[in-house]
């Protein structure tokens, strides 16, 4: 049992090492980001672009989907989500702080509990 656990650990480590050595310069992600309007679109895209290593970012008003292309040698999707949450927009993985949510312009005050 212990061996199995170790083995799995080893596997995870090797996988992550492999992932590290083979980082994608044009990694595509689609994540959900909360927002409502064109103003939010500008805010979300601007926040994404503020992360160095983000090459492309476009948020769709209707589907709430943000398509990003990032250089994984420089950044991660997590960093993008952090930047977006920082300006008040929730992603599925990360919620914005109450303070930054409160600072959102009226149109962008998406429903949230």
């Amino acid at each position: 049992m212990k061996n199995l656990f170790l083995g799995m650990m080893l596997l995870v480590v090797t996988l992550s090492v492999q992932a590290q050595t083979k980082k994608n310069k044009n990694a595509k992600y689609t994540i959900e980001v909360n927002g409502n309007c064109e103003q939010c679109q500008n805010r979300i895209q601007k926040a994404a672009f503020s992360v160095s290593g983000v090459k492309m970012a476009s948020w769709d008003i209707d589907s709430h989907k943000l398509n990003v292309t990032i250089n994984e040698e420089k950044t991660s999707i997590k960093a993008v989500e952090v930047a977006i949450a920082k300006v008040g927009h929730d992603t599925k993985e990360l919620k914005a702080s109450k303070e930054s949510y409160a600072k959102l312009p009226g149109c962008c005050q998406y429903d949230r509990w």
């Binding site: 909360n34 409502n36 500008n42 160095s52 983000v54 492309m56 709430h64 292309t69």
Partner: protein
């Protein structure tokens, strides 16, 4: 664990709630697509003319596609050839860059008639950019760029037929065939023929109002598209043969050519084009691509105007390599690349040989910043080396800013440089008794220097709701400042009284063109759109005889276009009505004071208006008919040809045309499609 699940559920619910709210909030309004589109997000002052708009003026070729568009003025170039000449910001087409699918098309030898060599039905859309334009396609454009996109084989219908006939006995037939050759290759064949068969002299001056004409024009294009791999390619083959005969109604070319029995003219042009394009979009990087374009063409015009012989053959090769990518992210884009141009001119004016070879090589870099909301900037520069123009730098800049909602402010500046093809561009003057005199000898182009101009522009547009309807109001102001220009002088009186001349010389002093356009567009009631524009032109040049406004240019113009459409019924039936009104203020005319009284023209032409209309009946999505009229007010220029009684005499001049020669004209046609 439970807490986590509940949070997850909550957030899921939250997403759902916001979703359902959105579906409630977003009511998608499917409005009818506009014929003229002007996006508030585009950096340059560009209007897109869609195929829908092109149908509003059914006749007949690219030169005539701008009648419903206020940015471009359509004029007649002379009283004989029926050629329409376009102007932008008050400057004639040599100062515009006219491209076909981003390959320069109307230039050099084709300057006078080139626009009539692209049939209207082949055109998918036209982009019209006012002002300096982009550096990607070249350095020649000064007052604007016109790029025509032809119908693409990949999304074309299998068969299209258009037949047209008019009361001035012009007939046109257009047939398009399209075939999908494989899942990646498609091909299209466009065949165009037109003819004017009957001699008409409505103003009884003994001269044909429009030439007898015949044109065969064939385009065969192949398109390759591989979305998986990111490759796109086009290969085009084109052949055109155009024959025109004009002059006195009794003129018979077989008997009277080269004699003074009757005055006559023939203009025969044969053209052959081959072009290719290859484009590649990098995998996983939609913002990075390269394109490689090559075009070869041979343009051969044999012509005579009375006793003036004019032959020009231009053999050209054009090549353009372009690479597009980003700096850090898609807010910062760039395009860079190389151009190569080779032109061999074999040009003969009577017995004088002006044959020459021009070539140029250039490199360009254009940077685009777009903050994805209210600001964008395009800054470009290019360096070219040309065997006659030397080595020079061409900067261009465009800025767009949306200061508040629905408002667009644009600024542009740029430089253009070109060599004036004085004979090809001023061919209409051959139809006169004028002698051609070039006063300079030291320059490299007919003894003249290259033309250099700076263009600056400012435009503003505000969209708003007026009585609940979409409307917009805006203005454009442009200034073109020539630092060097080849002046075409029709004012300076000749040394020997009773003779006539046209002088060409390097500008000594100032020359500028200021233009102001004010637009107001509104949807009056549902489906009834009105476009209005007032245009003011102040174009002045220092001539040898003193400062004067440019001849044959109205200072004030007014334009209005009304379009009405009924609802499309289930079976696709629809009526479309279109009406265009143009008012032209007085225009200064070339010098005629030294003529005998009966052959004198006033200093200024009278002002006049023109009205065109068209009615289209769509019977189904595959069949429609149209009927229309041009110049229905029947305005005709008095004395279109000076000295027409004695065409080999010293006062003869068919080039002073400020208004239509032919009166009202009615036409009808049909369009049939197999989808």
């Amino acid at each position: 664990m439970k807490k986590q699940i509940s949070i997850l559920l909550l957030s899921l619910l939250c997403v759902f709630v916001s979703y359902s709210q959105d579906t409630l909030k977003v009511v998608k309004v499917v409005s009818k697509s506009k014929g003229l589109q002007k996006s508030s997000k585009i950096t340059a002052n560009t209007t897109l003319v869609t195929s829908k708009e092109l149908l509003k003026a059914a006749c007949c070729n690219l030169a005539e596609s701008f009648e419903t568009n206020p940015s471009i003025d359509v004029n007649f170039s002379d009283a004989l050839t029926g050629t329409k000449q376009i102007k932008m910001l008050g400057l004639t087409s040599p100062y515009l860059m006219i491209d076909e699918e981003n390959i320069p098309s109307v230039r050099g030898a084709s300057q006078a008639y080139g626009l009539s060599f692209t049939p209207g039905t082949w055109i998918e859309s036209i982009q019209i950019t006012k002002g300096a334009g982009s550096v990607v396609n070249g350095y020649e454009s000064i007052s604007g760029q016109i790029n025509t996109e032809l119908i693409k084989p990949i999304n074309n219908i299998p068969f299209f037929l258009n037949a047209y006939g008019s009361s001035d006995s012009r007939f046109e037939l257009n047939t398009h065939f399209n075939a999908k050759l494989s899942d990646k290759w498609s091909s299209a064949l466009f065949v165009h023929g037109n003819a004017r068969t009957a001699k008409k002299d409505m103003n009884d001056d003994g001269f044909l109002d429009n030439p007898l004409a015949k044109q065969v024009n064939i385009l065969n294009r192949y398109q390759y598209y591989n979305a998986e791999k990111g490759w796109v390619s086009f290969i085009n083959f084109r052949y055109m043969n155009d024959k025109k005969q004009t002059g006195e109604t009794d003129f018979d070319p077989n008997k009277d050519k080269g004699t003074t029995n009757f005055w006559g003219s023939e203009i025969n042009t044969e053209r052959f084009d081959v072009s290719s394009k290859v484009g590649y979009v990098f995998k996983d990087m939609p913002y990075q691509s390269f394109g490689f374009q090559n075009a070869f063409n041979s343009h051969n015009q044999d012509s005579y105007y009375g006793l003036n012989q004019y032959n020009i053959k231009q053999t050209s090769f054009y090549s353009n390599l372009i690479f597009n990518s980003i700096i850090n992210n898609t807010m910062h884009k760039f395009a860079t690349g190389l151009n190569f141009t080779y032109d061999k001119y074999q040009e003969f004016v009577n017995v004088n040989d002006y044959s020459r070879i021009d070539n140029s090589i250039g490199a360009f870099f254009e940077y685009t910043y777009d903050n994805d909301s209210n600001f964008s900037l395009v800054a470009g520069g290019r360096v070219d080396n040309h065997n006659r123009l030397g080595t020079f730098f061409t900067p261009r800049l465009h800025i767009r800013y949306n200061p508040w909602e629905k408002a667009t402010l644009r600024v542009s500046a740029g430089r253009g440089k070109r060599s004036a093809n004085i004979f090809a561009e001023n061919q209409s003057l051959f139809a006169s008794s004028r002698t051609f005199d070039v006063l300079n000898t030291s320059g490299k182009i007919y003894g003249l220097d290259p033309e250099i101009a700076w263009n600056y522009g400012l435009s503003f547009n505000q969209k708003f709701r007026l009585f609940g309807r979409n409307s917009d109001l805006g203005f454009d102001f442009y200034k073109t400042d020539f630092t060097k220009q080849v002046v075409v002088d029709l004012y300076t009186a000749p040394a020997i009284p009773g003779t006539h001349q046209v002088l060409f010389y390097n500008l000594n002093g100032k020359s500028f063109a200021n233009s102001l356009q004010i637009d107001f567009n509104v949807e009056l009631v549902k489906h009834l759109d009105i476009r209005t524009a007032y245009k003011y032109y102040d174009i002045q040049t220092d001539y040898l005889s003193g400062k004067s406004e440019r001849p044959l240019q109205a200072k004030h113009r007014f334009f209005a276009n009304l379009g009405y459409e009924t609802h499309i019924t289930d079976k696709g039936k629809q009526w479309k009505f279109d009406f265009t009104y143009n008012w032209m203020g007085q225009q200064k005319l070339p010098e005629t004071a030294s003529n005998p009284v009966e052959d004198r023209l006033p200093v200024y032409s009278p002002s006049y208006s023109l009205m065109n209309f068209q009615i289209t009946r769509t019977f189904s999505s595959t069949f429609e008919m149209y009927f229309g009229g041009e110049n229905v007010g029947n305005y005709k220029q008095e004395k279109a040809i000076l000295g027409s009684e004695n065409p080999f005499g010293s006062t003869f001049d068919a080039s002073i045309v400020y208004a239509p020669v032919f009166g009202q004209m009615y036409y009808a046609g049909l369009r049939f499609k197999i989808k």
